[in-house]
Structure formats: C-alpha cells, structure tokens
C-alpha cells in the first residue's frame, strides 16, 4: 500500500481550475516533493490532501483513508506545517506543543515524553519557555515542525517550509527534516519552489505547473531524462542570422535554444563543445560576451518539461492565487 495515492484529483474555483486531474503515488518512508512556481497548484493540492479543502472530483487516500469520506482518520494520521507561520506568538514554545498535543488527544504521560523528545530534536530545549514571538524565523519554523509531530503522525505535510528563511536557516531545516525522517520512519510530502531544496531532500519530485503534473521521478532520473549532461549558457555580440543552427551543429550538442539573446546549449560533453564554440565564434567574427558551463539542474528539467525557467515563472508571480477562496 502506498502512503498517499492520488487519482485524477481536480479542484476548480469558479471558472478557474487550480488542479487539473493530478495522479501520483507516494511510497511509505520517502520524501516526495511537489516542485513548481507560485500559483502552480501545489498548495491547493496539499490542502486537499490534508482535508482543508474538498476536491471537485477525483479521489485520494492518505495512510489508506479516503480524504473525502474518512477525513477524521486522515487528520489523525498526518502532521501538517502550513505555508504561513501558525504558531501562537504570545505562547511559549512548550505551550504551543502542549495545546496541539491536547488537540490531538495525546495522553498526558505520552505527551510529556514526546514534547521533550521533539524539543530536543529541533534543538529548542533551552528556548522551550520563551514566547514564540521572541524567536527568529528559522526557530519559529522549527517550532512548527515539532508541533506537527507532537502526535507521532505517519505522514508529514510541509507547505514551502523554508520560504522566507535565510540560507543558513534553510540548510538547518533540511538537516533537521532528514534526521527526523530517519528517526521516525516518516513519509514526507513537501511543496517547494526551491530547486536545491527539492534536489537535496526529495526521493521523488513531481514537477507541477498550471495545475498539471508535468513530470515525476527521482531527481537523478529527471536530470537524466532531458538531453545533455551539461548546459552552456552563452551570449554573443554580432551573432549572424542562422547562428542557432550553427550552434546545433557543434560536436556533442543535443539541443540549442535562444531566449532574450541568451543561447542555451545542451551537450553530452561540455568541455569539447565549449572549445568548438569558441573556435566557431572566432572564425565567424562573433564576440562571446558571456559564457557559463554547468551540469544539468532541476531548473533545466523544469525548462524542458514546462517550456520556461522556474526562476522566470517565480518572477511572473502567481497567475491565480485562489488560496483565499472559500468553497
């Protein structure tokens, strides 16, 4: 049995379809990432799976329970860290954990042990009696992680857990999640628009764009699934007509494209193609303005499957933010 099974899940808000028939499975014990820009439908998807909004059609099970008909059992099985910081700022770290332990009906002796373990796991024992409002953003996120685990859930949902955190705090949260997952045999579903986060944390990644699932595999396989092992990004001064075709003809090149005067060249052999490119430019009297060679990244994967760069999609902002809409 899969920890999460999603079949043809659809969510419409009026005329707008936020999630368009998504299907995937999440195995027990894995970290599964939903990667996509804001407005791609990731949060809507996670809200359906955590019973916060009802799907328009399709079905899904979480820990074997149907999200539509067995929502209470689903809630008992999951821990959820919403995108917004939802801890009580006026209460201490310990009080936040205590209230949620009671909301989940954790017996007194078990919650005392669990709270101590969790405070230790998120390295907040010495801050336990401080009000959450006195903590940094990264520490508050750690409070939320501990709070989401206070009833020992089987499956843990995190909606963009490191958004707004500085790079050091982000890395600290990643390490904490990896350790907690290993210690507690958790299944984790995480949404993110950070490629490095998805790359480093996830066993499987689903690329989501405009409410559709564009690709799903392990990070290594996703990268291997697109042409080229390296990507050259080059800009020229005085590139003649037909220059893209000349670039495609260079040794080991599998594909070349041009956008905003920057050529992206996917190649099986970066060093050899680079050498040939410089020689061709010199012979044609074209000046190389900038050149970078890099290994294939998830951004390249995103470009390949969606036709646009993730960073561009992020800059476009959410095409439709329907998170505020009510059923």
């Amino acid at each position: 049995m899969h920890a999460i099974e999603v079949r043809d899940l659809v969510k419409r808000f009026g005329d707008f379809t936020a999630v368009k028939g998504v299907t995937f499975d999440v195995d027990e014990g894995e970290v599964f990432g939903l990667l996509g820009p804001n407005g791609a439908g990731k949060s809507t998807l996670i809200r359906m799976l955590t019973t916060l909004i009802a799907p328009t059609s399709g079905r899904a099970t979480v820990n074997g329970f149907d999200i539509a008909t067995e929502s209470d059992s689903v809630r008992r099985s999951i821990g959820v860290i919403p995108q917004a910081m939802t801890s009580d700022m006026e209460l201490s770290v310990r009080e936040n954990l205590l209230i949620y332990a009671k909301l989940y009906g954790v017996p007194r002796e078990r919650r005392t042990r669990l709270m101590a373990e969790l405070l230790d796991a998120v390295e907040l024992t010495q801050w336990a009696d401080k009000p959450v409002k006195n903590l940094s953003g990264g520490m508050r996120r750690r409070v939320e992680i501990a709070r989401g685990l206070v009833h020992e859930p089987r499956i843990f949902f995190l909606d963009e857990p490191t958004t707004g955190l500085d790079p050091v705090s982000r890395v600290a949260v990643w390490e904490m999640l990896r350790r907690i997952k290993a210690e507690r045999s958790l299944t984790i579903l995480i949404t993110t628009h950070y490629m490095d986060e998805a790359d480093r944390l996830c066993d499987h990644i689903a690329i989501v764009d405009h409410g559709e699932l564009k690709a799903l595999d392990s990070p290594i396989r996703l990268k291997a699934s697109i042409p080229g092992k390296n990507v050259l990004e080059v800009s020229f001064i005085g590139a003649p007509p037909g220059w893209q075709a000349r670039l495609e003809a260079l040794p080991h090149v599998e594909a070349a494209s041009e956008r905003d005067s920057v050529f992206r060249i996917a190649t099986e052999n970066g060093p050899v193609t680079t050498q040939a490119l410089l020689e061709a430019a010199s012979a044609a009297g074209v000046t190389v303005q900038s050149l970078s060679v890099q290994s294939t990244t998830l951004d390249d994967v995103f470009v390949h499957y969606t036709g646009r760069a993730l960073r561009d999609a992020l800059q476009e902002g959410p095409a439709h933010d329907f998170s505020y809409m009510r059923r």
Partner: protein, 371 residues
C-alpha cells in the same frame, strides 16, 4: 470534550499575556459611565437671563426680586439687567444670554387693576434642555406671584397628589451603570470574539486547528466558552468598579453579587454567541472593525441603557424587543437599582439563554470545517 478544553486553555493563556486587551475592554465603559453619568446627571444651572424692565413699578420690582432670589439660591439662572430691549435681543441671538424676561410698561397697572397682567420670556429654543429648564424655572417664579398669602382651612377641599418614591433617589450615573456593565462585556466580546478571532483566521492560525481531529462543535464551543470566561471577567470587574464610582448602596451584598454574577454569565454567553454567529463566515479583518460602531449603536442605545424605551419611535422599539442588551440592561437595573430577586429577572434570563442557544446552534451549522 478534551479538545474543547484545549481551545479554552489556549485562549485563556493568550488572554493572560494580553493586559492591553483587558485594559481596553474596561477603559471605554468606565470613561463612558463617568463622563455621561456626570454630564447628564446634574441639574442645569447658571443660565443667563436678561431682564428688561420697562415698567419700574412695584410689581415689576417684585418680579426682579424673585428672579434675584432664584439666582442667589437655586442658581438655575443668573440675571442681567438690560435698559434696551433691542440690545437684549441681539445678545440673545448672539448666544451671550439664554433668555430675555421682559416686563412690559403697563405691567404694575394691570396687576393692580386685575387686567390680565403678563410678562414675556423670549428664549433661544435651539437647545431643548435649556429651553425646558428656563421655562420651568421662570414659570414657577411667576406662579409664585399668584399664590394666596395663607390658607385658613384645616382640611383642604382641593384634590392633591402625594408622590411616594419606592427607592432612594437614583442619580443618573447609577441609572447608566447597568448599560456600562453590558458595554464592558460587549467590548470584550467584540475585541476577543470578533476582532482577534478574525485576525487569527486571516493569519492562518485556524488552519492549524482544522488539520487536527477537532469537531465543529468542539471548536465553536471552545471559542464560545473562552470568550464567555473573558467577558465575565470584564463584566465583573466593571460592575465592581462601577458600583463604587456610582455609589450603589451596599454593592457587595453576597446574595446580590451572586445574582449579578448569574446575569453577567448569561449576558456574556448571549453576546459571544451572537458575535460568533455574525463572524462565522467573515474572513476580512476589516469587517469586525467596520461594524463595531454600528453594532455598538444598534445594541446599546435602543436597550434603554441611557433613555427610557417608551420615548422611542416604533421601529426603534422593534429593535429593542430583539436586542439582547435590552434584557441584560433590564436585569442589571433590577439588581443594581432595586435589589430584586430572580423572580423579577426570570424572563430576561430566559430570553438571553434561548438567544444563546439559537445563536450558537446557527453558528455551528454555518461554521465551515474546511477553508
């Protein structure tokens, strides 16, 4: 029910750490009680009356002496003699004086001949309170001129009215106190149950609860009971402070305190249930702030807290009939001003209880377990 208690515990822990909320909910009703109580509670004094004596006869002198006596003793008005009627009227129109008492040239002659003697009071009638006070004071004064010097009958043959007051004199500040207690409860309900509830919802705090196995009823009951506890605290504190400020006789009699506590609890439950019913589908934090003034006016003033309901137009009396403030204010008036028992406030308690049950049932039905 353990989950409901978790909500209550969370709300009360937060409340304990928000002294500002406690102060705000008490300051407004206390300020209102003191300011309105003393502003409207006293008699109007030291109005300015210009006296234009065009007669200068003995009877005119008597009127001027009587006016001087009122100015020296009751101090309802001060007199200012005018030689020129035109100047007096100009001062009246310019607001420098409140009225002009004119004694016409043939007044004394008419008094002596019994030929319908008249004096005139010209008033600035833009202020009804001043007009009524002045007319009453001058009317009494002129009436005194016509009183016979002495009566010889041992038993009066004329019918008379003896007024017997059941309770000691009730100053206006005491009359206002019941409304102020209800207002303090309402303030806490509005801030704690309205504004903070919607702010929490907008910040996503409720999302945290909704992913737990808590039921709709547990959630609403938790919010309702915690709101009731906070509002009861506000009402009890204001009743204690207000009773001392207003000078309620024997304010801490145990039995009366117990009855007052019951009314405070029932009132708090009714108002918090009403607030959740109003806010159950609201998501915009501006809404509770925007309707605060409207609700305050719609509930407080028709309740009879500041003015008797018998003076209201029919549409306002209709509001008063359904307004929970009406029943709470009536119950508090009975207990604070008349020291009655439960029999006098039974219907008030029944109405407020039924109102709470209906409002909470509707709020629970309308509450969405999803976002």
């Amino acid at each position: 029910m353990a989950r409901m208690w978790a909500i209550i515990e969370r709300e009360l822990r937060r409340f304990r750490r928000s002294p500002t909320l406690i102060v705000i909910s008490l300051v407004f009703p206390i300020v209102q009680l003191v300011v309105l109580g003393y502003a409207f509670g006293g008699n109007v004094k030291h109005l300015k009356v210009g006296i234009v004596d065009e007669d200068h006869g003995l009877s005119a002198v008597r009127i001027r002496e009587l006016a001087g006596a009122v100015a020296a003793n009751a101090r309802t008005f001060d007199t200012m003699p005018y030689a020129d009627p035109g100047a007096a009227l100009t001062d009246l129109r310019d607001g420098r004086i409140n009225g002009v008492l004119t004694i016409p040239p043939d007044y004394s002659r008419r008094v002596l001949s019994g030929d319908d003697p008249r004096v005139a009071l010209i008033e600035d009638n833009t202020d009804n309170f001043v007009t009524a006070t002045l007319a009453s004071a001058v009317g009494s004064m002129v009436g005194a001129l016509t009183q016979p010097v002495a009566k010889t009958e041992r038993v009066s043959t004329d019918p008379t009215l003896d007024v017997v007051e059941v309770y000691p004199y009730v100053p206006y500040i005491q009359y206002l106190l019941p409304g102020s207690v209800v207002m303090s409860i309402f303030m806490m309900v509005m801030i704690g149950g309205g504004i903070i509830f919607i702010d929490d919802k907008a910040r996503g705090l409720h999302e945290g609860y909704l992913v737990t196995p808590i039921t709709k009823f547990e959630l609403i009951a938790g919010f309702n009971l915690s709101g009731t506890i906070k509002s009861v605290m506000a009402g009890a504190v204001l009743m204690t402070i207000g009773s001392v400020i207003a000078g309620i006789p024997d304010p801490f009699a145990p039995l009366r305190l117990f009855r007052l506590f019951v009314v405070i609890v029932v009132t708090a439950m009714a108002l918090i249930s009403m607030m959740f019913l109003l806010m159950v589908r609201v998501t915009d934090p501006l809404v509770p702030r925007a309707i605060f003034g409207v609700l305050n006016t719609l509930l407080y003033f028709p309740s009879g807290a500041v003015y008797p309901q018998q003076g209201f137009p029919p549409w306002m009396r209709a509001i008063a009939v359904v307004d929970p403030f009406t029943y709470a204010v009536h119950a508090f008036k009975c207990l604070l001003l008349k020291n009655t028992g439960f029999a006098a406030i039974g219907f008030d308690l029944l109405y407020l209880t039924v109102f709470s049950v209906i409002a909470m049932t509707l709020a629970t039905r309308l509450f969405r377990r999803t976002l």
